[in-house]
């Protein structure tokens, strides 16, 4: 493999793809090719460490079966119409925020309602003024 991937962003990704492939020797070829560019070599070495560190894991068989049973039970009840699966209701914070905003709006409206007309902010004149 020669320096076909001479774009600085292309080579590291081509190298990552080779690390994922079943032909790891090609990744070594790209690393050797990158040796021509001193700035590219350390990122490629780091990628090789990343590949080793992020080794895939699997869930335990007991967990997998338990979650399957739970989902199956939910699906069964859903199919019978016993439960309606829906999105969680809005969070408490959202409800409090909405209530505070509503109260603020009401207070602002009451405040403006009690002001003499000439003290109203621009754009808030009563339509009767026209």
């Amino acid at each position: 493999m020669t320096m076909e991937h001479n774009d600085v962003a292309e080579l590291p990704m081509a190298h990552a793809d080779q690390l994922n492939s079943t032909l790891p020797d090609e990744a070594a070829g790209l690393t050797a090719a990158a040796a021509e560019r001193e700035d590219l070599l350390p990122p490629l070495h780091l990628a090789e460490r990343l590949k080793r560190a992020l080794t895939p894991v699997s869930p335990s068989e007991s967990y997998r079966r338990k979650l399957e049973r739970d989902l199956f039970e939910m699906a069964r009840r859903s199919a019978r119409g016993e439960v309606v699966i829906s999105q969680p209701s809005p969070s408490r914070g959202l409800i409090i925020g909405a209530a505070v905003a509503l109260m603020g709006g009401i207070a602002y409206w009451i405040h403006n309602r009690n002001l003499p007309e000439h003290e109203l902010p621009a754009g808030h004149e009563h339509s009767a003024a026209y």
Binding site: M13, A53, P56, M74
Partner: protein
């Protein structure tokens, strides 16, 4: 693959019990993705359950519009992880599971200990990256996805994925160097 997914989804949209086939097909991938993002098996179990629950609840709304089902699931899992970080306001701990690795044959114990320490530092640094960058590294290295697949999941072009990957490597290297880790070789023992 996409056609196979389409049939399974259409079946599951009509009959909730048919969701089991989708679960069976994707549970390992979602679990691994979430584990790599959180570094904890108990949290991976919790968030995997939430991911499938949400997918099940929203399956009726899923339509193929250029985004495969797997990409849709990864997005749900990613959002679950982002919410997990936000709600707990914490950085994940590197799990003991990831540190307990077998010493390689012929390896001196001190070499193995150093390798574990460096791997731990690397995982810790990965978990300190911005969420999108962790997302990218896990999809690339642990899930082994192509750039096109990652682009579909992240809603970016392949070119943008390549650039983000390169920038992530450079920033990660800088972070590790600041922590005194030598990253100029590949760390292979």
């Amino acid at each position: 693959m996409e056609e196979h997914d389409r049939l399974l989804i259409e079946r599951a949209q009509k009959d909730p019990l048919a969701f089991a086939a989708l679960y069976e097909m994707y549970v390992d991938r979602m679990y691994n993705y979430i584990y790599q993002r959180t570094g904890s098996h108990p949290d991976a179990e919790d968030l995997t359950a939430r991911t499938f629950l949400k997918a099940f609840a929203n399956l009726e709304r899923f339509t193929f519009r250029g985004v495969p089902f797997s990409a849709w699931l990864y997005r749900i899992a990613h959002n679950a992880v982002v919410n997990w970080y936000r709600d707990r306001s914490r950085h994940p701990m590197v799990s003991l599971d990831s540190l307990v690795t077998q010493a390689r044959v012929g390896e001196r114990p001190e070499d193995s200990a150093q390798a574990r320490e460096e791997e731990s530092a690397l995982l810790d640094a990965i978990h300190r990256l911005p969420s999108e960058r962790q997302h990218l590294l896990v999809l690339k290295f642990s899930e082994g996805l192509s750039n096109a697949e990652i682009g579909q999941i992240m809603g970016r072009t392949e070119g943008a994925i390549k650039s983000l990957y390169h920038r992530t490597l450079l920033d990660l290297r800088e972070m590790l160097e600041k922590n005194g880790m030598d990253v100029d070789d590949n760390g292979a023992q």
